[in-house]
Each structure stands twice: as C-alpha cells, then as structure tokens.
Subunit: 460 residues, 2 copies
C-alpha cells in the first residue's frame, strides 16, 4: 500500500457519498457475514461492507478504494468453496446484493440482461414460464448469484449437457479497479470484434474487476428426463457405461459416479435405504433426455442391453418423479454427508482417458494410509471427480492429478484455498502472462489480492 | 521501430539459424502468395517468409524478429476475408504450414492434439473413421488451417448447432512475440485454474502471439440430416419459421436464409433451375437432425404443418442425398456468384429480435439508391446476415447495425478491413482495456500491427 489509510471517518464519508449512507455496513454481524464464503480458511475481518445500488455507485465506490489504495473483495452469494470471497485482511467488501435489475425476457432471441445480484433460483423462476432456462444449475441456487456464477465460471451437475457458465454469456458489464466501466459483448450470438475480454472476465474470480450485469444466453427447458442407477464392479465399468450412454437413443444430460463409501455415508446420515440389495464398489447415475418424438421402448431396450454389460451388477430405471428425485438424492447428498467427518473436498479433473489410472492412484493412497480418502464421487462424464481426503494428502493428490495431465480445480476455482498450488498447474511463463494481464487491468493490484495468482508482486 | 533494420544478409543468416535455410522464402512468388489472404486490400509486400518446422523453431524465429524490432504477420491457410494475414508493409510472415504434428485420437476422452498447420479437411478425414468430428465446417476447409480457425474464432454453417471454434478447444500452445512459449489449458473438459488465456488467444487474430498447436474437443458425427427449403413472403415469416423449427421433433442444425436477388445470381451464373416454380422475396433452408430413434412420420407431419404457416408460399423436403446437396448448393454458391458483380461482402450480426428492423433498414438503403444492396443472405438462426453492398454504404450499414445493438463483424473478424471501424463497436474504455491486454503480452507491438486494434499507440 503506497497510501496511508485515511481516518475512518473520512473514509466512511467518502463511501457514503459514493453509495449512500444506507449502503455501508460496519457492524460486527455484517462484517462476519459478508466477509467470508463457504471455505473456512481464516476469520473474516473486512474493513467495511459497501452495497452499491447500481452500476454507477459501484464505479464511485471502486474509485474511492482506488484513490485510497484499499484492497477490494467482490462478493456475490458467498457460496464459493475456495475462499475467493474471503476478506480476512481489512479489505473493502463490495457486495452485489442490490444489483438486481432484470431486463425483459427476449423469447425469440433467447437472451436476458440481469444484474449481478440476481440468484440462480430467481432467474430460474423468471424464465420457466417462457419454457426457457439459463442452464447453470447448482445445489446452492437459492443463494448463488449470477455475478458469482460468472466470476467463477460455475459448472454444476449438467456441464456434460450444457457446459460451463462461460458458454452462456453474451455480454458483461464490468467495473475496473479505477472505477471505469466496460461494456463487453452484447446480445449477439456472434461477435468477432476485438479481444474476447468478456470471456476473460468469466472465471477471473474478482481479480480483474467487478461484474455488475450480464446478458445471458438462454435455452429451452428440457422435457422430463429418465434417470437410471447402476451398481458397478469398478471405474472401468463406469467408463464403458459412459461410452454406451453416449450412444443411447436419447441425449445424455448427466453421468455421475460415487463410490461405496460415499453412498454409505448418505444412507447412514440420512437414514435412507440403499438403492440395491447388495452393495457394490461403485455406482453410476445416468440421466437421459428422450428425444422429441423419441421412442420409450427404444430406451428400455437400450437399458436392458447395458444392464447385461461387463462389470454391471445391477441397474434400475426410475419409474416416476419421486424415484428420480430419490436417485438424484443419493448423489446430491454426498458432499453434505461426508463433510462432518472431514470437511475437505477436493475438486479435481483429469482427462477421461486417465480416470482409471487416477482412481487406481487414489486407492494406493488409501492402501498406504487407510482412511485417508473418505469418498470419491463426481461428474465422471466430465472427467471431474471430487475427492474427500485428508488435507495432509493434498500435495500427493495434486501431484497425481498433474502427472495425469489433469486440473487441480475443475469447477471451484483457485481462490485462496489453492493459490499456494497454482504453480503446480501453470509454469512460470504462463503465470507471468496471467499476472501481466491482471496488471494491465488492475495496475495497483487492488482487486481481490492474494487470490488466484497468489504470489503476484502487487498482492498485499 | 526503435532498431535500425539489420543488413538483409545478417537477418537471413539469423533466420536460417532459427528455422533452417529451407524454411525461408524470399522469391517474388512466395512473397506474393504468403503475403495476403482473400481480402485484396493492398499489394502484399512482406520482407520474408519463414516456415518453422516445429514449435521451438517458431520461438527462435520470433526471438529474431523481437531482437530486430521486426513486425510479424502470422499466417495459416490465408482464407480470411478481412486482411488479417495481409503483409503489405515489410513484415515477416510466419507461416504455420509445417506445424503438422497430429497426436492420437482419444476416442473415449474425445480429444486430439494437432499442429496449427493441419487443415480442416485433413482433420475431418482423420476423425471420420472414429465416428467423430471437430464441428467447425467451412467452405474453405481444404485450405483453412486449425491455427487459422482458432486465431479467428471461426464459425461456419453449423454455429447454430455447435457454436464457434472457441467452444471446441481445450488447450493451446502459443508463442509470444519475445519467443516465450505458453501451454494454456490441456485436455481437460473442466479447468478453472487461473485466467482463461486460452479463450483470449482464440479470436485474437495474431495480435497477441502465434498459435502453434491445439488440443481440440471432439463430438460425435451426426447422423444423416433432413433438409427442407421454403419460399417466404418476408423476413418476419422466416423468423416465425425459425421459432417453429426450434420446436421440431428433431435437432435444428442449420437455419439459413437468402433473398430473391441472391438466388437469382446463383441460378443465372450456375445455370441451375430455380427450386420452386414461382419466385419469392425470401427463401429459408432448414437442416434438421432426426433424433436417435426418432420418428420420420413426426417430422413429415411437422413439415406439413409449418408449410401451412402464415407467409410460407412453398415448402420442399429433400428426398435424397442428391437433393439435399442441391438445396445446400443454392446457399453455398451465393458468395461466389455475387462476387463478380461487386466483391464486397459485409458480415454483420444483429440480435435476432432486431432482424426485422435490420432488413427493413437495408431495404430503405436500396429504395434510396437502387442497386446499392446486391444481396442479403446468411445464418438467420444466429442473427448473422451477409450483406453484399456498395463499399460506399459501409458507414451507413455499420451505423444501422450498431443502432440495433449488433456486431460489425460476426464471423470474419476485424483484420485490416474493419480496423478503421472498431471504434463504432467498442468505446474508448473498452479499446483501452484491449490495448492494455495486448501491450501486456506484446509490449513492443510487433504482432500483426495495424490489425484489429488499429490505432494502438504501439502499431507501426
């Protein structure tokens, strides 16, 4: 910091000018609540919370921070799992709660412009009557905001079908550290004019600027999907099933796996019956959208054929909506049911071709040190597994991921949690290029310092 | 330039060290051939052509250019339509022809790593036996290279179904102006670690560095598609048809339109019969992939229903492969058949909701000054129309596009052709941010100067 901190009173007056007196919170409860996300990495200790009511107020608030050399932590729904929204070092938290403008639903063009503070659930409810969706679906949809989804390039359970958030944004409004406003992209499906800064801001975890609004691309709500659950011998059987599911007479919209330990934790904590009479080492959940005009008998015939496949111990097709919810319930409860035992979930990705070697490597961890892996589950169709493991094994886990050409963070980002590890993922030249790009847009290094690009020279 | 040009002999010796003597061309024919793409904006006049045989040779060649302050024009298949690969000011052309390494097809993971110099057609032929494709399909596929596709974020006729090139790349190898090599991304479907420089380089038109290899995401080859042709009253009827086509019992994979003038040019130059007995103001081509296990009768019933729709004068479903090719032939021949009259095709995009107003605006041009618009055609499903117009009307055309919130270049990029107009698309703050990002990666402004970000201070 090359500026002495101004007196607290003067600063509060400047923020009050910027966002109005009702847009500032300094009480202990707000500081605690707005100062952290869902990664309990340090005690929240922000300087103040500012809640601008519109884009111009965001610009004024950031200009105040810039003038005083204050670090800024942008904050959406704070449902992140990597500490990207943690403010533990006296930063100003810029919360997007009040950026809630919603434009009309363009039903023909299939777009909508929304403020960063709108939640996924609110957007879902707004679009459903038009038969449309923004297809990023998260367990935390009641709190997670569109701005947060975009800042972290959120994925969710239907990445296999729809891809990440970056694919579903046509335009962004962002405010840079110095308060300047950028309008990036627009409502056009196709726009090859200039550098793709819109895509660059998606997934930038608040280190480049604050996303204040977005023009989103929408798609049709899918029809009802079929859900099948399989009990399997091993991960190789799951990979064969994935190949078969891609060739099913329907659109594969999710392909999830979980191991016996993950299922046992769910059944025990929730008091639910096991899905099959006998337990199996692995389970797969497969969601299939029947084609328009598709044939139900064809799907049943496909299921009967794959149920006879090598390594498939049992298969069940959900017969009604309640059973579909029950099958999904096993998968969606894992994270919560494993957490009480050892709340450290690693979110990694390896190329699908390397998944067998990866799971083998994890099993070796466990053989060396029983109990070091609590459960393995995740989005097999994306090569993305979540590994609930002892934190002490992180170094080995990440090294294994990198040996297999994988990514140490598939969905959850780097934030503070994995900032010390980013050098495992990217070499010196790549990190230097990222830091140069950050410095170009945030020369004073005030945006979310210490996150993502950790050792950047400009971080506080 | 802050360096005096070295003596030609010394420079050639340095390039010979970098890429081998057989990797340099200075003969008049090569200078002409490698010095321009398909936009005849100026006479090609490069200093020399270098053809490195591998990534390290690219790095050495760029280091030579950097040391001597020489501007570099990266060059792929030179099929671009915006002059992005034109070298008219003594630049060094760095051609990727020899970067032709191809990795194994990962059939399970659906990825492949290829050198930048591989053509779309070669890749297509390599993947087809595996039932896979890289779904960027271009009329120029025999010459266009993967590196060029990525540098321009190519689209093509199936953007509606598959999106642009950016969506189908998982990793890039690039060499920066100073010769440093970046490995961006990898073979992972999901990777939220750091800034998305991979996506930033896609569509960067050679102003940030040279793409030398890419790890591409693949998808299944589609089954045979149905092709229907419609004669329509007006663009409003085409938009209603688009909405109906999205709800067809099949996957809409292309929705193209062309006006009566475009069709007349094709029929007259090619000597083809008109598709319908009576002419109509507008035509639409609709390609539909029947769902796996889908029902042919359902599709025919859908077609019969839409053929009765308001503004639909006639409809025909192709009965065999030859007729499907014939229907596509009308659309794909337009560009070539209009070119002899007035070879100036503008590639613009407006939000789909604004297409009606856009076509109305164009018709007003023509009413004011008959003959100023030669033909309107394009990818209606993407809001992307090509307008063959008098160059003198560019300013009005772009102003109309921007009034409607559109993009002055949907697919073809900015290059040299539209560099003078980029200020219409982006404001001062946005251009300053793009130039700052370019300067961060190419501080001396040696990469493709004068293109895209035109008036950048560092351009020669």
């Amino acid at each position: 910091m090359d500026h002495a901190l101004p007196a607290a009173d003067a600063l509060l007056a400047a923020f009050a000018d910027a966002v109005g007196a009702d847009g500032i919170r300094c009480d202990a409860d707000s500081l605690r609540r707005y100062g952290a996300d869902r990664a309990p990495l340090a005690a929240p200790a922000p300087l103040a919370i500012v809640l601008p009511a519109d884009r111009d107020a965001v610009a004024r608030a950031l200009a105040v921070c810039h003038a005083h050399g204050l670090a800024v932590v942008p904050s959406g729904g704070r449902t992140g799992l990597s500490g990207g929204a943690l403010a533990a070092k006296g930063e100003v938290v810029l919360a997007t709660d009040r950026l809630r403008d919603v434009g009309p639903v363009d039903v023909v063009g299939r777009t909508i412009r929304v403020g960063a503070g709108v939640t996924n659930l609110e957007l879902q409810q707004l679009l459903a009557p038009h038969g449309l969706q923004w297809p990023i679906d998260l367990a935390s949809k009641g709190s997670a905001t569109i701005g947060g989804n975009l800042a972290t390039n959120a994925g969710g359970v239907r990445v296999l079908r729809y891809g990440h958030a970056r694919r579903w944004v046509l335009g962004l409004e962002v405010v840079l550290a110095d308060g300047s406003v950028l309008q990036l992209g627009g409502a056009n499906e196709k726009d090859n004019t200039g550098l793709d800064l819109c895509g660059l801001f998606v997934g930038s975890e608040g280190v480049l600027g604050v996303i204040t609004a977005a023009t989103l691309k929408l798609t049709a709500l899918p029809g009802p999907a079929e859900v099948a659950l399989f009990a399997l011998d091993d991960i190789a059987a799951a990979l064969r099933l994935l190949a078969a599911a891609r060739a099913a007479p329907a659109t594969l919209s999710a392909f999830e796996v979980f191991d016996a330990r993950s299922l046992a934790a769910v059944c025990s904590r929730r008091g639910w019956p096991a899905p099959f009479q006998e337990t199996a080492p692995w389970y797969a959940l497969c969601e299939l959208e029947p084609a328009p005009g598709g044939d139900a008998a064809a799907l049943e015939a496909w299921l009967a054929a794959v149920a006879m496949g090598e390594g498939v111990r049992a298969a069940a097709l959900a017969t009604d909506a309640a059973q579909r919810r029950a099958f999904w319930g096993y998968r969606e409860s894992i994270s919560e049911c494993l957490a009480p035992d050892r709340p450290h979930k690693n979110d990694v990705c390896v190329p699908i071709a390397a998944l067998g070697a990866f799971v083998e490597g994890l099993q070796r961890f466990d053989a060396d040190d029983p109990g070091s892996i609590l459960g393995i589950f995740g989005h097999l169709g994306d090569g993305n597994l979540h590994v609930n493991a002892q934190r002490a094994r992180d170094a080995e886990l990440f090294a294994l991921v990198r040996r297999l050409g994988g990514s140490i963070s598939a969905e959850h980002g780097i934030g503070l949690l994995k900032a010390p590890w980013i050098g495992l993922q990217h070499g010196a030249a790549e990190l230097a290029a990222m830091r140069a790009v950050k410095a170009a847009l945030d020369p004073r290094g005030l945006m979310n310092p210490g996150k993502m690009l950790a050792a950047e020279p400009s971080a506080i």
